[in-house]
């Protein structure tokens, strides 16, 4: 499966752009995060890395599909 992933904040710097395509066998949020950790080890140095699916924070066991809007949410710092 090929998932399109949006990147914000520090993850944009680590991935080298606002969007990336991630290819993996699995279909869960956890599988996607693991794949990203393998490909971009610098992501493991963050305090946290949440993943949003269709504009909502997702649980690790949530199943994703190629048509979902997926985004990487590094530690937030608004305000």
């Amino acid at each position: 499966m090929k998932y399109k992933v949006k990147a914000f904040g520090v993850t944009k710097d680590i991935l080298g752009g606002k969007e990336a395509v991630v290819e993996l066998e699995g279909q869960t949020v956890a599988a996607l995060r693991n794949q990203l950790f393998q490909k971009h080890p610098a992501l493991q140095g963050l305090r946290s890395l949440l993943i949003a699916v269709n504009n909502t924070y997702a649980e690790d066991n949530q199943v994703i599909s190629e048509s979902d809007e997926i985004a990487l949410i590094p530690p937030v710092s608004g305000g």
């Binding site: 914000f8 904040g9 140095g45 305090r47 504009n55 530690p75 937030v76 710092s77 608004g78 305000g79």
Partner: protein, 141 residues
């Protein structure tokens, strides 16, 4: 009103949007850009938001607050883009019948926004830059 904007925030407009004739209190939080962080001078901040999700998350926070306190009106505006020290980065205004609930609701909204809304800031110093809170703090002592 929930707004994510690149333009300077009109604080009075946010207050007016929240205000209600039935209210005895309008509580306003104004977040501003500090000129220093960790002992270094901040030259400017870069704010970035995942806009559609940020609006969703802020709406959830307002919904929660509306269930907990008798809000008569509310408005939240968050700035993105390049901000210099002293500029307003966020304004939260809530109106309620009495002052106590306006203080509590306003604090709840800004605290939860800071914890949950997908918005990020990068501090730009004279000698470098850093996404705030992205990495574990270095051990001091």
């Amino acid at each position: 009103m929930i707004k994510i904007t690149e333009k300077p925030i009109d604080v009075q407009k946010v207050i007016d949007t929240a205000s209600s004739l039935g209210a005895g209190a309008v509580n306003v939080f104004i977040g501003t850009v500090r000129n220093n962080a960790n002992g270094k001078n901040v030259v400017w901040l870069e704010y970035e938001a995942y806009e559609t999700m940020a609006v969703n998350e802020i709406r959830k926070i307002i919904d929660d607050a509306s269930h907990r306190w008798p809000l008569l009106g509310w408005a939240v505006s968050h700035r993105i883009g390049t901000l210099k020290p002293g500029e307003v980065s966020v304004v939260v205004a809530v109106a309620s019948p009495h002052r106590r609930e306006s203080f509590e609701a306003c604090q709840y909204i800004i605290d939860t926004l800071k914890a949950n809304a997908p918005i990020w800031k990068k501090e730009v110093f004279e000698d470098g830059e850093e996404w705030v809170s992205a990495r574990p703090a270095m051990a001091v002592n």
